[in-house]
Symmetry: C2
Subunit: 135 residues, 2 copies
DNA sequence: TGACATAATGCACTAAATTTGCAATAATAA
DNA sequence: TTATTATTGCAAATTTAGTGCATTATGTCA
């Protein structure tokens, strides 16, 4: 079932901002910062306050729809949480962000579970380097 | 050779702030934020301005001694750069950060090189979950 | 050792990202 | 359509980070 129906079912209201932000993430499939969300919304004619953007992000994280993606930047980025498992490739030159899926991460995860006494629930992997255009 | 000697050799001055910050990182071996650095310095009686902390971090990054570690926080963290290769384990409950070394990351890295057309220079892996105390 | 050159620092600001309080607005149930 | 209250906007406060400039202090060399 889609996010909108889920939110409706659990009692949340579906506002223009909320719907637009969810669609933004569904179409983009990349980590987006709060400022970018605001810019993109403005570009498509959805005029919302930055405060609303921040509050909506917070809400969607609480609802388990978005998650934080920390990048080497002092701006947090966000992404849909239940996308098929994947990780990121970041260009240190132009800032481009791409996805990458990794077969061998299973072993990695198994090793992490074994080598630690943490109750691991999630993990993130990022590769930094130069993208095709920049190298 | 140690960091202090390296800095001296290359002409930098060794101030109380600089020496203290380097020692802080050597003793802590964990990602530390600028604010934490400032707090820790104050606690041991080294009173420096936040500006100095930020400028020193910048300097130590330029000198290849520190590197940025992005966490799920809107505060950047830093760590000594040439520590033996390792990654992080973060408690989603109390914020505890521990190190973890992984044998199988070699395969992962090889796969990443093969599956992408990026010129990968670095990577970071983080596991999120509950630490022994919190689970 | 003492004075000099300049790296490093502090202070007062600025800038950008994020958060909060509260009154106004709008989504939904009835 | 109306009432309830979730959501929003606005203004202002906080937090994190970075700057310009005058002052201080490190390391060098006479």
């Amino acid at each position: 079932m889609d996010y909108i129906s889920k939110l409706k079912d659990q009692g949340s209201r579906i506002t223009v901002a909320r719907r637009s932000i969810i669609e933004l993430f569904e179409n983009t499939k990349k980590p987006i910062s709060a400022t970018s969300i605001h810019n993109m919304l403005t570009r498509i004619g959805v005029n919302v306050n930055m405060t609303t953007v921040y509050r909506e992000i917070e809400f969607l994280i609480k609802m388990n729809i978005l998650e934080k993606i920390p990048l080497k930047d002092h701006e947090l980025h966000y992404e849909l949480k239940d996308r098929e498992h994947h990780h990121h490739l970041l260009c240190t030159n132009c800032g481009l962000i791409e996805d990458i899926t990794l077969e061998s991460e299973k072993k990695l995860l198994a090793e992490a579970h074994q080598n630690s006494n943490y109750d691991i629930s999630r993990h993130s992997i990022a590769f930094y380097g130069k993208c095709p255009k920049c190298k």
